[in-house]
């Protein structure tokens, strides 16, 4: 089939009068609306610029499944440190299971989480081997669900401190500061 010049192709001999009417604009308002190209491009460019400015190439700290973080106003920026997640009764260190807190919940008193202690201690030793001569920062991030009981929070906090991580930070979702 030969290539034909573009143009109208509506065949008049086909009995679709209502289509012909619509297309030609006769007999009512056209279904097509005009769009200002300049405004549209302005809008797209502004959107692209806004999204590029808010884009973060470094990504975001992973959040463990089932953890709802509390909100807080007076927060600090995130830092690179081992993440201890407590979801339900499961303890996870950097994605690896590190014990259970059910015994603490049942006993309702502070206890050391041995598996967590051993994992954090080995991480500390590894850091010291890979950074000889440097002071260990001792920072750990706790990612805890907001319904978890204080006895579990304090047990994990104390376990981390005894494993050589005295600077404990609680991960939260930040909210804008209210005016006082």
């Amino acid at each position: 089939m030969p290539v034909q010049e573009p143009g109208r192709r509506l065949m008049h001999h086909v009995g679709l009068k209502f289509v012909e009417k619509r297309v030609s604009g006769g007999g009512g308002r056209s279904v097509n609306a005009g769009l200002s190209l300049t405004s549209m491009i302005d809008f797209l460019v502004v959107t692209v610029v806004f999204l590029l400015m808010t884009f973060s190439a470094s990504g975001e700290t992973p959040q463990a499944k089932g953890v709802t973080l509390p909100l807080a106003e007076n927060t600090l920026d995130m830092i690179d440190a081992p993440i201890v997640a407590v979801t339900g009764s499961q303890v996870i260190v950097d994605g690896v299971p590190a014990g259970n807190t059910r015994a603490i919940e049942d006993a309702k008193r502070l206890q050391r989480v041995d598996e967590l202690f051993n994992i954090l201690k080995s991480k500390r030793e590894l850091w010291k081997q890979t950074h000889p001569g440097k002071d260990f920062p001792g920072v750990v991030l706790l990612q805890i669900d907001q319904e978890v009981q204080a006895v579990v929070v304090k047990s994990v906090f104390q376990t981390a401190a005894f494993a050589g991580y005295p600077n404990v930070s609680f991960m939260v979702n930040s909210i804008p500061k209210t005016q006082h």
Binding site: L37, M40, I41, L44, V45, T47, V48, L51, L52, T54, F55, S56, G59, E60, T61, Q63, T68, L69, P70, L71, A72, E73, N74, T75, L76, D77, M78, I79, K108, R109, L110, L141, I144, D145, Q146, E147, V148, Q149, A150, V151, V153, K154, F157, Q158, A160, A161, F162, Y165, P166, N167, V168, S169, F170, M171, V172, N173, S174, I175, T178, H180
Partner: protein, 193 residues
């Protein structure tokens, strides 16, 4: 086909400085860029709240031990359902005690998908207490005042963060190198009792 061209030259046998931009690929590119950025956008901003476990460092027998004057510490008691109690203590001696009313029962504020506990009255009282009793308020001072949180074992973590957030509302200047910034006035730790 749509195109953009500003006719400003090309006369006198010279090549025009302007060239046409093809509108359709340009709009396609913008659309694809917007889609990519929207898909990869992170709408929640995570951050952290600091706490200090107050663990003493390893023993250093070679260093001379200096006798340090015990400092004032703010104990925040949140075990009572209807009030917070702020107690300033110095080496076990109570200096002052203030009660701050607490709603009973507490109703959380729904923010997005999260129930949040906020204590603005407590935050204001802690700030005013620190201004009168706090010891470390100079920007050159590297030490911070200590706040110790007393809570019962059943308190949900969301309420603990609400109280720690209220403690951190009190801010002081802190010199880091040549610049000065506002940082929380307290270091927070938990009471093990």
């Amino acid at each position: 086909m749509g195109g953009v061209s500003v006719d400003s030259g090309g006369k006198g046998g010279r090549r025009s400085l302007d060239s046409e931009i093809n509108m359709i690929p340009m709009i396609d590119l913008l659309m694809v860029t917007i889609s990519f950025l929207l898909i990869t956008a992170v709408w929640t901003h995570m951050s952290r709240i600091n706490a200090d476990a107050q663990v003493p460092g390893p023993p250093r027998p070679t260093e001379e031990v200096q006798k340090i004057e015990p400092e004032k510490q703010l104990h925040i008691e949140m075990r009572a359902p209807d009030k917070f109690t702020l107690i300033w203590k110095q080496s076990g001696t109570v200096i002052s005690t203030v009660d701050v009313a607490r709603k009973n029962p507490e109703t959380p504020v729904r923010q997005g998908q999260v129930d949040t506990y906020r204590y603005p009255d407590l935050a204001a009282k802690i700030e005013s207490e620190w201004k009168t009793v706090g010891q470390h308020n100079q920007s050159s001072d590297k030490k911070f005042d200590q706040a110790i949180l007393h809570t019962d074992n059943e308190t949900p973590y969301g309420k603990l963060i609400g109280v720690i957030d209220a403690i951190y509302q009190a801010k002081r200047p802190f010199a880091t190198g040549s610049k000065q910034e506002l940082v929380p006035a307290f270091n927070v730790t938990f009471s093990v009792n």
